[in-house]
Structure formats: C-alpha cells, structure tokens
Symmetry: C2
Subunit: 164 residues, 2 copies
DNA sequence: ATAGATCGTCAGTAATGCTGATGGTACATC
DNA sequence: GATGTACCATCAGCATTACTGACGATCTAT
C-alpha cells in the first residue's frame, strides 16, 4: 500500500486517543487474566464483591459496575461454574441473590489483581511518574464530575467499533 | 435497592476509568453529531480524507483509523448515500477505490468538526487547563509509544461490555 | 388481602466485528 | 507476451455483546 501521506490527524482527537487507550489496556488485561481463567469483567465483579461490607446482590454489583442486570446473570453463571462465587437466596429478601466469593475465588482475585496491577504499570510505562499521576488524577476528576452530574452511562452504552 | 455500602473500588482502576471516559465522550459525540447525520466513525473517515494530500483508497483510510477494511465498505456506503463522499475507481490502479469528499461532505465536515471540538471542550470542562493539557499529552505519549512498539490494535479489537 | 414495585431469569432482537471466499486488477518473472 | 503471485473491494456467514420485554417469585404499603 503506497503511502498517500496520511498525517495522523486523529492523534489530536480526544475520542480517538481514549478509544485506543481503552482498547489497548483492555486487550492487555484480557491477555494477562487468561491464566486465571477470568475476563476483566469477571475480575471487576469479584473485586466489588470482595470490597462490599455486606454481601451484595446481583443487581447491586451490576449497578456499581455499570452493567445491565440481565448481563450480570451470565457473568455470575460463568464465575459460579468456575467455582469462584456462590449464589444464595437472601434470607432477609428472598428476591435477592446474594453473591459470595469462595475461597478459590478469593485466591483467584488476589492473584489476578496482581496481574491487573502489572498491566496498568506496563501501560503507564511510557510516561514519567508525574505524567502517570496526572493522567490518573485527570481521569478520576472527570469520572467524579460525570458521576456527580448524573452523566453516567445509562448502564452499558458502548458501541464498539474503532476510533472515531 | 438498599445501599449495601459498595465503596467505589473501581474508581482507582485505570481500565475502568478509561472505559468510562471513552464511553462518555463517545456517547456525547454521537449525540452532538446527530444533527449532521453522521456518526463519529463517519466523521473520522471524512477527516482522514480531507487531511490526505492525495485521495486515499478505502484500505488506506481503514488502516489509518484502525478499522477493518470490510467494515469500511459499509461506512463509505453510508456516507455515499448521504452524498458526502464519492467512490471512484483509481485511474492509476483500478483495484483501488479512491474516495473523495463532495462539497456537501466538506461543509458537513467543517460544521460537524466544530461540534466535535465543543464535545471535547465540554468533556474536559471539569479539569483546569493544566490538567486538561496533561491528560491529552499523556494519552498522546501512550499512543505514540504503543504505535512505535507495534502494539496497535490488530485493527478493531474492542469487546464492548462495561467497565472492567 | 390486594396492588404496585423489585429481583432474577430468559427469549428475542439489534449492532458490530471478524473470517473466508470471490472477482477484478496489478506487477514481476520468465 | 503469458503466467503466477499479491492486492483491493465486496459479500456472506459467524460470533460476540448488549438491550428490550416478558415472566414468576417476592416484598411492601395500603
């Protein structure tokens, strides 16, 4: 393919940069988590369960992660099949499915989380420490602002596709 | 839904932050571009065509945007149907489809691009000027580093799903 | 008790991307 | 000049993912 001289005009686009950044880290994360038999989303679910003080229901987990409750069903199915979590009808409210980590799930979480941290470190490697911190803090600031403004995703919008 | 006290553990996750950031700006972009009858990806294609010194082929556009060539077919179809671009067999190489902007397409591009800039400004609004610059530059640095390292997406990987 | 709301589940649908095959075209080599 | 290889656009088929709407079971307020 002859180079028709296409300057990288898109490199100045915030949307394009964010898309590539997300796709890049998501791909690396998937790869790094494969040895633990979990996908990023499953790790997120286990993380939320572990962090919750009381055992959360499927809906609560979904809400925090920003996932649809119907999607959560399959994720929990998958995790349960691997023996990492357990479903149980709540005693207080028998509509709710309380999800708990099994000992194996907790072990997996601890180890997989280290892999996640490695991925994040590698991802930030091209930056000096100050820039890396600035990036993270800027993203958090935007996240908080959007959350406060209620601009959070209705719960799942993310037409994939590539760089826009 | 009773609050079971789920600390926002995911807010420290780079992958989660990037996903939300991308989803947020992508959603806003889609909305802002709707009046111009284009989706973000179509704007990207028009932008690349406009920036190319010679008229690029479909494959070249796809390569630069990081899109699959089979997907590009549909995008060009859509843009052609709207009268924004024209396909033409290249004279020099009749395998290639040279894509050019029509006057209407150029007008649309100019106007839609202003909308895009507004979206980016609004997105960065929660940050002070220095943080906004730091964010953009950090993302660009990572983009360049990944590009140089050849870690660019094979051309399209982006399992949607939500925050990981 | 009865009505309305909530939770988990499932089936169906839509959007998106990729793989592989096809037809047309260029180029290099003989 | 003929032929084989590589390349481009296109299309059909498949896989993945998410959402909508409906359903049964359950809670809660009246």
């Amino acid at each position: 393919m002859k180079d028709v001289c296409l300057p990288d005009v898109l490199a100045g686009r915030l949307g394009y940069l964010l898309k590539h950044a997300y796709a890049g880290i998501a791909g690396a994360m998937e790869e790094a988590l494969a040895p633990f038999s979990v996908i990023p989303r499953e790790l997120a679910v286990m993380t939320v369960i572990d962090a919750a003080r009381e055992q959360p229901s499927q809906l609560e987990i979904a809400a925090q992660i920003g996932m649809d409750r119907t999607t959560m069903v399959g994720v929990i199915d998958s995790l349960e099949k691997k023996g990492y979590v357990e479903r149980r009808r709540s005693d207080r409210d028998r509509r709710r499915n309380v999800v708990t980590l099994t000992p194996e799930g907790l072990t997996c979480l601890r180890e997989a989380d280290q892999a996640r941290e490695r991925v994040e470190r590698d991802f930030l490697a091209p930056l000096d420490a100050a820039s890396a911190r600035a990036l993270t803090e800027a993203l958090q600031a935007i996240y908080r602002a959007r959350k406060a403004a209620g601009s959070m995703l209705p719960a799942g919008r993310l037409h994939c596709g590539r760089p826009d």
